[in-house]
């Protein structure tokens, strides 16, 4: 059974705590993505599940066994590392068969299973090559092959695609998804790329600074971010935020005095807060929030507009095309259900977000 339960897990390196109590329940066959900015503890958590790091406090349960004190080799998991960690002195066949040989599986069965995995991943012509004779994408595939021949209870991936170029990354992404649909093995997938997390996972766990910000289905996170952090992290281009005061339930005053009419009042009735609107949820209207266009970037299917509103830069994404020109004054509207309200808090630095996206 490939269920994984993480119960209030903490991790300290020396006196420095990097995970501050994390709990996740993962069902058999589920694909869960752990996503978050660099240094938030994703890899550490994954390595604790693998048994490569001690668990400082809390419990990890795989199947029906508490594995805190179980060696990695006895956890029935397979892991794909960012640098693939292929054994450089073994050819592809032996790399893929190594785990089975350790388990004293018969020679004939090893051959069968390696060849089956090679067929699934299109590695048959490469079986006799050494890792150094493979391209980055092929190595990545071998690393996946090494994991799937094991037929483990749980797959663990730590940023398996981040060493590939953009095009290959998109291709491998759909291959991983296809593989999961076929094998239905529980998968925990670490990435800092929110698009990867959204497109692959049944459920996404957003982490930040050693705690979980929110757990949910990809579109739940997109539609109903529980915190400013999640709102800023999920979605590309990122959500626009405005901090200010609610003068009355539907009037929002920014620091410079600009007043924005809100389509709905804040359900929590805050006096001071942050509102957020995704670029793709703005519409161009005759009247609404006043802004001045600074850059127009058409891509054919959509047009990205960078505009200034109350002295700050915002992004607007319009379906199709628009005749808007730089310097022009526009008015932005937003549907009542597409505006988000948060407690006032510093918006996570966009530069960092974009860097990791």
């Amino acid at each position: 059974m490939g269920t994984v339960q993480i119960r209030d897990v903490r991790k300290s390196f020396g006196t420095f705590e990097v995970l501050h109590g994390v709990s996740i329940d993962i069902e058999d066959g589920e694909f869960v993505a752990l996503v978050g900015p660099s240094g938030c503890g994703k890899s550490t958590l994954l390595r604790m599940i693998a048994g490569l790091e001690d668990i400082t406090a809390g419990e990890i349960v795989i199947g029906d066994r508490v594995v805190n004190d179980v060696a990695p080799k006895d956890r029935d998991i397979a892991m794909v590392f960012q640098n693939y960690a292929l054994y450089p002195h073994k050819n592809v066949r032996d790399n893929m068969g190594f785990a089975l040989r350790q388990r004293r599986v018969s020679k004939r069965e090893i051959t069968e299973r390696v060849e089956e995995a090679a067929r699934i991943l299109g590695l048959e012509p490469l079986l006799d090559r050494k890792p150094r004779q493979l391209s980055g994408g092929q190595r990545q595939r071998v690393a996946m092959g090494r994991a799937i021949v094991r037929n483990p209870n749980v797959f663990l991936f730590d940023e398996p695609l981040s060493n590939l170029d953009a095009k290959l990354r998109v291709q491998m992404r759909s291959e991983i998804k296809e593989l999961h649909q076929r094998l239905k093995t529980t998968t925990i997938y670490v990435t800092h790329d929110q698009i990867e997390a959204m497109t692959l996972a049944d459920r996404v766990v957003v982490m930040n600074g050693g705690v979980i910000e929110q757990v949910g289905a990809p579109l739940d996170l997109y539609d109903r971010p529980a915190s400013l952090f999640v709102a800023a992290f999920i979605g590309s281009p990122p959500m626009n935020f405005f901090e200010g005061d609610f003068v009355d339930p539907t009037t929002f005053a920014l620091a410079d005095g600009t007043r924005l009419k809100l389509p709905v009042p804040d359900p929590k009735g805050r006096r001071h807060g942050t509102i957020g609107v995704r670029p793709e949820h703005f519409t161009l209207e005759q009247s609404g929030w006043p802004a001045t266009v600074s850059v127009v970037e058409p891509t054919g299917s959509e047009t990205q507009i960078t505009a200034r509103l109350a002295g700050r830069s915002i992004r607007v994404l319009i379906r199709g095309r628009t005749a808007t020109r730089p310097g022009e004054a526009i008015h932005l509207g937003v549907e009542p259900e597409l505006i988000h309200f948060f407690d006032a808090a510093p918006v996570p630095a966009l530069a960092e977000m974009e860097d990791v996206a």
Partner: protein
């Protein structure tokens, strides 16, 4: 454009000149260093008369007399065997212990590990002469003077730190994920070390082993102090011949024994070079 076109060939010809100068300098240095060895080997094939002719002869009738004479003296053959035993024993012991210690220092997070490693390295700063006498006293008390094992252990005191530090940096260059992957694939840490890390490190291991054996092969001080007859090594014999004040220096004998001593070192050094280059070409550290 024109400036570029003109300057380019000039630059490359200057580069070629620099290369040529470097080659000349390299050859000159090699000649200076290799000439004494060449002279030693040449002398070992001369007879007594040719050795003392002035100016020195480069063309002469070679003779194996010096070799024949000294190979027949049992103690040279025996010392050769002793040297092989001691160098091999010390080399193997040090490579096993030093490699495992180096691995531990490279990988296992342990408080004080760095300090411990530095202490071991510092111990190499103690001049051997300061250790030789205490070692002699200890060995005599234990009744192990003039035994192979004594010399092997004595050599290990400086070879183990040497191997440890060389292998430590070698292992640190290997990605940690290699062992982690092996441990997930069904190995214990020992299994991962022996099945994955050791095979990958083989070129480095063999080179280090050979270097250690060369160091043990040519060691004189400990051999002089800790052995007398039974376990005595070749360097001691050379020192004996060179320092023979009763009969005067026997040049033929000295150079013949010297040549015998140097040949294995040269062969070993060539082997090391081959393995090192092979190791580098294979990109052993490439994940």
């Amino acid at each position: 454009m024109t400036a570029l076109a003109v300057s380019r060939p000039r630059r490359s010809s200057r580069g070629a000149l620099a290369t040529r100068l470097r080659i000349v300098a390299g050859v000159a240095v090699s000649v200076i260093f290799l000439f004494p060895i060449y002279w030693m080997i040449l002398t070992s094939f001369k007879d007594q008369v040719d050795i003392f002719t002035t100016p020195p002869k480069f063309l002469f009738t070679p003779t194996l007399a010096a070799y024949a004479e000294y190979m027949q003296r049992a103690d040279i053959v025996k010392r050769l065997i002793n040297t092989v035993i001691v160098a091999t024993g010390a080399g193997l012991l040090s490579i096993v212990v030093g490699t495992m210690a180096g691995y531990a220092l490279a990988r296992i997070r342990l408080r004080g590990a760095a300090t411990f490693g530095l202490l071991i390295l510092l111990s190499r700063g103690v001049p051997p002469i300061a250790l030789a006498v205490p070692m002699f006293l200890v060995a005599r008390k234990l009744g192990v003077i003039d035994k192979h094992i004594t010399l092997i252990l004595a050599y290990s005191t400086f070879l183990i730190p040497y191997v440890m530090w060389l292998m430590r940096s070698f292992f640190m260059a290997l990605p940690r994920e290699l062992e982690e992957s092996a441990m997930i694939d069904g190995c214990s840490r020992y299994g991962a070390f022996f099945k994955i890390i050791v095979p990958i490190s083989l070129p480095g291991l063999l080179s280090t082993l050979i270097f250690s054996m060369i160091l043990a092969w040519e060691e004189l001080l400990f051999a002089l102090v800790l052995t007398s007859r039974h376990a005595s090594t070749i360097p001691v014999a050379i020192a004996g011949i060179a320092g023979d004040t009763v009969n005067g220096a026997n040049w033929a004998a000295l150079t013949a024994v010297g040549t015998i001593t140097v040949i294995p070192v040269v062969v070993f050094a060539l082997l090391v070079q081959k393995w090192l280059i092979k190791g580098l070409a294979e990109g052993a550290t490439k994940g």
